[in-house]
């Protein structure tokens, strides 16, 4: 292979043929264009005429040039030109060691890095040098071997989410002997980079290939003064650059969504960019991670721990009518103690329960109505923490006297006791040190806490294990009971300073902090991690992809925050008990720095210098030139003027050739179907490959589209059939999917598309078309097929359409949904179990959004189907009743489309009076 700069030729001797071009020029010049033969009746008038000039028309110079260029392009094309020819081989025969950093820093450029490695290996292979690969993050003793075998194993390499910093081991693993080294660097500095370089230089020359792209990374998000602050860093301080930080989380149902996009701007010359995000607490709680858009690297992802979440605590007391005595309020001290760290909720129990607070505080509330008690019980079962304080009312009531109240941790003795008062013996009691199994263990006791009045616990067998704080004489001060996933904690004193000085002390705040953090985790001080073992739940790989890690072993809490990421400490989400902690590649204070190399090390930039064969382009260009030559020769000899058709044919033919020769370059073609669907409302049906079913589905949707057009403000254009494998679904509001037993199962990709479609608000109407012979739950062939098809779909829980479902009133008021058959069953997404019918309302407020799935078997398309002339295609029922049924089928279709397009708008209670009026109630 010979080369000129970056251009090389596979068979350069062919270029000798270029010498013939001048000769060709003379030959072509000498030969005039051939005459056209033209039938012409007027020739008789021409007879005897002489040409004015005796010389014939010469081929014009530009046509000659065109032909010469075309032939030149063919010759050069056949010589096999290759751009970026890798022909600068050195004559070095020593082995080549390819060193890869292989950390997350290079993950974003990984593909090009691997390509560059492959090119390097090929080059070494053509020089028959032995090669080995040494990835610093996963050091294995390199073994020199033939390049071809090594190239095959390149696909197995992957970037790691840690930096190669434990290189003491790596240096040892270097093979003995002399070898040349190519170091593919990720562009990040780490401590052991220079020692490693020195170690390599003892074996032979070292070249460095480094990306010139800057490495981007995110540090963990911090919650500060009501805003989430995210810091992005880059390795090089270059031009001003804006990056998008995606806020990933879950929607209220639990599906993964992007909650927002925040822009961070690196000022010119700056390596740090800040983004600040203010979100409602509820939304904040749903954030799972932040990531930099379009950067595939573990460093560009930061997982969010619970530290972003502010706990919600509901404070409830039943002190009405005692205005003005702020300091006597049972809640005053609680509020002061909790307000800095948590969100407080006020209100009645029935108000706060739906907000699902983390903690509900009942200060001296003895009696709860049964409904409230049930609601609280249920909430505790789901993980709530009920924090109760004693008080005069509890002391006076009979709660938890005879039998243990479900909402109290212990039984109480009547009356309570008072110590250290004017009329009693003994001094006020102080606190005993906390026991080891107490959540308060480790809190320093201050001597100024004393208790004068308290309610007493009955000495039951279970009492000992339920006490988490006691007085110096051993009487329980705080008791706790687990219930379901939640717990009930009872302070045997009041929440204000009436019975004890506890609420006045700093200890009270710390105790509440411990209690509230035990529901979910807080940012732990390092000390509290001591001695705990944290097990990973989800870990990241070098690309920032998350994977399940429940099978991995745990990590000691002390290492979790202090050590850098390593094979045994992957970034991810770790849990210990009820607490979770997210470990990221970068910690809050870490920095990234660009790598620096000694001046004698040659550094080349990682670029896409893959070999690019050019002969295809040149040959295509020569075809294009020849086509041009055809047209211009014709034009020149007057053949283009006479016959218009022939001209068109020639031009079309040459254009066809041109498009074929250039079709490699742009294979993508616009899809008119998609364009139409994107600009209009278009109903779509899934192509089942059963011609009859597809035709009826098409005709049915045409009928429905017509009905919509005539009756509503929805004006759909012609329906289309969609091929699940090839078509984009996002533009269609509704997919009608008739089931036939012989249709093929969509591919995995198609299912991914369908699931995305369902998630993003699409609706699929499955029609088993067999309601005349079978009900939905029965085992008909179509039903079985539907089950098979829908197995891979994300289908929520379903229920038969309830009487008050939104489908019954989005446009028409409907009771049932006949198609060609009038089976009763229509299944939709189940309403949330806690939806209730409000007083005086004819229907419930049901779930938000659109049901993603409607399943039935009434063969609606057949009822909707019309021919091109607008006549019904298939008979429905008999006589007038049949026509009525068809009408109801149309009404169902219209309701369905309205439901898709307007969501639960008609569920809005604003419409109740009008609907009530029409319902005749």
């Amino acid at each position: 292979m010979s080369s000129l700069g970056t251009l090389g030729f596979t068979s350069p001797w062919l270029l000798v043929a270029l010498i013939s071009l001048p000769i060709l020029w003379y030959i072509l010049r000498a030969v005039p264009p051939s005459p056209i033969r033209q039938r012409f009746p007027g020739v008789i008038l021409l007879l005897g005429l002489k040409d004015k000039e005796a010389v014939s028309d010469q081929t014009p110079w530009w046509l000659l040039l065109l032909r010469i260029l075309a032939i030149g392009a063919i010759i050069i094309g056949l010589a096999g030109p290759v751009l970026n020819s890798n022909s600068n081989t050195s004559n070095n025969k020593s082995p080549l060691l390819v060193v890869l950093d292989g950390s997350w820093g290079g993950a974003d450029q990984w593909q090009s890095q691997i390509k560059a490695v492959e090119a390097e290996l090929k080059r070494a292979g053509s020089a028959s040098r032995e090669v080995a690969i040494f990835q610093l993050t996963l050091p294995e003793p390199p073994i020199f071997q033939a390049a071809n075998t090594l190239i095959k194993s390149l696909a197995k390499l992957y970037p790691t989410p840690w930096q190669p910093d434990s290189l003491a081991t790596a240096v040892v693993k270097l093979p003995a002997g002399d070898f040349e080294t190519v170091w593919f660097s990720d562009g990040l500095y780490y401590n052991s980079k220079l020692p490693m370089l020195n170690a390599l230089e003892t074996h032979g020359p070292v070249r460095v290939v480094e990306t010139n792209a800057e490495v981007l990374a995110l540090t963990p998000a911090v919650y500060n003064d009501g805003a989430i602050e995210i810091t992005a860093m880059r390795s090089l301080s270059g031009q001003e650059r804006a990056i998008n930080i995606l806020v990933q989380g879950r929607d209220p149902i639990g599906n993964a969504v992007t909650l927002g996009i925040e822009q961070a701007i690196f000022a010119s010359g700056d390596t740090v960019a800040q983004a600040s995000l203010t979100l409602p607490a509820e939304m904040r709680a749903r954030i799972t991670r932040f990531e930099i858009q379009a950067v595939r690297s573990a460093g560009a992802v930061t997982l969010v721990s619970d530290s972003l979440r502010r706990r919600e605590i509901a404070l409830i007391s039943n002190r009405d009518g005692r205005e003005g005595l702020e300091l006597l309020s049972p809640l005053h001290y609680l509020e002061r103690a909790l307000a800095p760290t948590v969100d407080l909720l006020h209100g009645s129990i029935s108000d706060v329960i739906p907000a699902n607070p983390d903690i509900i505080v009942l200060a001296d509330v003895a009696k709860l109505v049964e409904e409230e008690a049930n609601a609280i019980s249920k909430w505790i079962q789901n993980g709530g923490l009920l924090l109760r304080f004693a008080g005069p009312k509890i002391a006076a009531s009979s709660i938890s006297r005879e039998t243990e109240d479900p909402l109290m941790p212990v039984r109480l003795r009547s009356g309570g006791r008072s110590v250290g008062g004017a009329m009693s013996w003994g001094a006020p009691k102080t606190l005993a040190p906390f026991k080891k199994d107490s959540p308060f263990f480790g809190l320093p006791l201050s001597g100024d806490v004393d208790v004068t009045v308290q309610v007493m616990a009955q000495p039951d067998p279970t009492l000992a294990e339920r006490v988490i704080a006691e007085l110096s004489d051993g009487t329980p001060l705080v008791t706790r009971k687990h219930s379901g996933r939640g717990q009930i904690v009872f302070f045997h004193v009041t929440a204000n300073a009436e019975w004890s000085s506890l609420p006045l002390s700093g200890l009270f705040v710390e105790m509440l902090d411990r209690l509230s953090s035990s529901t979910t985790s807080l940012d732990f001080p390092t000390t509290s991690l001591e001695g705990t073992i944290w097990t990973p739940q989800i870990v990241m790989d070098g690309f920032g992809r998350l994977k399940d890690a429940t099978s991995m072993s745990g990590v000691p809490g002390s290492e979790l925050t202090t050590l850098p990421a390593s094979p045994s400490l992957l970034p991810g989400v770790y849990t210990s008990g009820n607490n979770s902690f997210s470990r990221n590649v970068l910690t809050v204070n870490s920095e990234i720095k660009p790598s620096s190399w000694p001046s004698h090390i040659p550094i080349s930039i990682l670029a896409f210098t893959t070999e690019q064969p050019l002969s295809g382009y040149l040959l295509a260009a020569s075809i294009a030139l020849l086509c041009l030559d055809v047209i211009s020769s014709l034009a020149l000899s007057g053949r283009l003027t006479g016959n218009l058709r022939a001209t068109q044919a020639v031009v079309a033919g040459t254009m066809f050739l041109l498009t074929i020769s250039t079709s490699q370059a742009n294979a993508q073609q616009g899809n008119t179907k998609i364009a139409g669907a994107a600009s209009e409302v278009v109903l779509a049906h899934v192509i089942t490959n059963n011609q009859q079913v597809d035709e009826i589905a098409q005709a049915g949707l045409r009928g429905l589209s017509n009905a919509l057009f005539f009756r509503t403000s929805v004006e759909p254009s012609d329906p289309v059939g969609v091929n699940l494998e090839t078509d984009e679904l996002a533009f269609f509001p509704l997919l009608y999917w008739p089931i036939s037993p012989d249709q093929p199962r969509p591919s995995q990709d198609a299912y991914t598309k369908l699931n995305d479609y369902l998630k993003s608000g699409g609706l699929i109407l499955f029609d088993t078309r067999d309601a005349d012979v079978s009900s939905f739950t029965n085992n008909s062939a179509n039903g079985r097929k539907l089950r098979d098809l829908a197995k891979a779909l994300n289908i929520p829980a379903l229920e038969p359409v309830p009487q008050d479902h939104i489908l019954t009133r989005t446009f028409y008021l409907l009771q049932d949904f006949p198609g060609r058959h009038s089976g009763r069953e229509l299944w939709v997404e189940a309403a949330l179990p806690d939806s209730k019918q409000a007083e005086g309302m004819p229907f419930r407020k049901l779930n938000d959004g659109v049901t993603p799935i409607v399943i039935g078997g009434n063969d609606w398309a057949s009822a909707w189907a019309i021919t091109k002339t607008g006549q019904p295609m298939l008979p429905v029922g008999v006589g007038f009743g049949g026509e009525r049924q068809r009408e109801l089928a149309y009404r169902f279709g219209i309701n369905l489309v309205m439901h898709v397009l307007t969501g639960n708008y008609k569920s809005d209670q604003v419409h109740v009076p009008a609907l009530l009026d029409r319902l005749g109630q």
Partner: protein, 292 residues
């Protein structure tokens, strides 16, 4: 010619015949003028009626054979016959079978159409129509139309045909449709003969638009349709000027001949409307009535 190919040709020809007839009929309806009812006394050959002599009749007009039968003197009247016969000549030479592109009709098609449509009109008007020459003498009646159509569909092989000048009926009318590309002397002979016999008529010059435009460029070999004439040029665009000059001269000569012989000259291009062409023909032949 094998029987198969004969059959094939017959089928093909007979297929065009009804189409041509229908087309011509259709065209003729558009022009139908209602010139019936010449059934009255006038100049003609056939007996019409005897009438008593009136003041102003010359004595030479008295029919003595009838008058001798009584005391009253009678005048014999003949039926008024306008152009007693119309002779049509349609150029069927090869040069006529040319159309510059497939959307235009060939000149021959156009000429046939004119001839036949005009014949239909004339026959409906009670005239007698025939072909110039001896092949089909003028006759009245719609059967004549079919005979005309049959003959008109026959093509001739020579490139430029000579206008028919034999068996001209004195004082008849004649319509000659051609591209008149042939020898001008032949046309002159015909017109001279016609003038001698008191035949008046029309020269209808049918040309393809390309023959007026001459848009050719580059090296070209021009061939007549029949292939008998050929002219090669290295630079066709250089010939345009001369060609157009010669064409204009040819038209002038034709006009000159017409005015001398008392004929009318009309020009038709195949890309213009058939109806307007036919209308012109009809007016031209109708306008000659009085002088006939």
């Amino acid at each position: 010619m094998t029987s198969l190919s004969l059959r094939e040709k017959a089928e093909r020809d007979s297929a065009t015949l009804p189409a041509l007839l229908a087309q011509a009929e259709h065209l003729a309806t558009a022009v139908l003028s209602g010139n019936h009812g010449r059934r009255r006394a006038g100049i003609g050959d056939d007996f019409w009626q005897y009438r008593p002599i009136q003041v102003g009749d010359s004595l030479r007009m008295i029919d003595h054979r009838r008058s001798a039968m009584g005391d009253v003197q009678f005048v014999r009247e003949r039926e008024w016959q306008i152009a007693q016969s119309v002779m049509i000549w349609i150029d069927r030479g090869a040069s006529m079978r040319f159309a510059s592109n497939s959307e235009l009709a060939t000149k021959a098609d156009r000429a046939r159409l004119f001839g036949l449509a005009l014949s239909i009109l004339l026959v409906r008007g009670g005239e007698r129509v025939g072909l110039a020459g001896t092949q089909l003498p003028p006759r009245a009646g719609s059967a004549q139309i079919s005979r005309l159509a049959e003959i008109l569909l026959e093509d001739k092989s020579e490139d430029y045909t000579v206008p028919e000048h034999h068996a001209m009926i004195p004082h008849a009318k004649a319509v000659y449709v051609s591209d008149f590309m042939g020898e001008i002397d032949n046309i002159r002979t015909t017109l001279t003969k016609a003038a001698d016999r008191g035949v008046r008529g029309i020269l209808y010059h049918v040309l393809d638009p390309i023959e007026e435009a001459f848009p050719f460029r580059g090296r070209a070999i021009f061939q007549s349709v029949g292939g008998t004439f050929e002219h090669e040029t290295l630079k066709a665009s250089g010939l345009k000027e001369y060609y157009l000059e010669r064409l204009a001269k040819r038209k002038d000569e034709l006009k000159q001949l017409c005015s001398v012989a008392g004929w009318q000259y009309g020009l038709h291009h195949t890309n213009s409307s058939t109806q307007s062409g036919l209308l012109w023909l009809w007016r031209a032949i109708d306008g000659g009535r009085g002088s006939a």
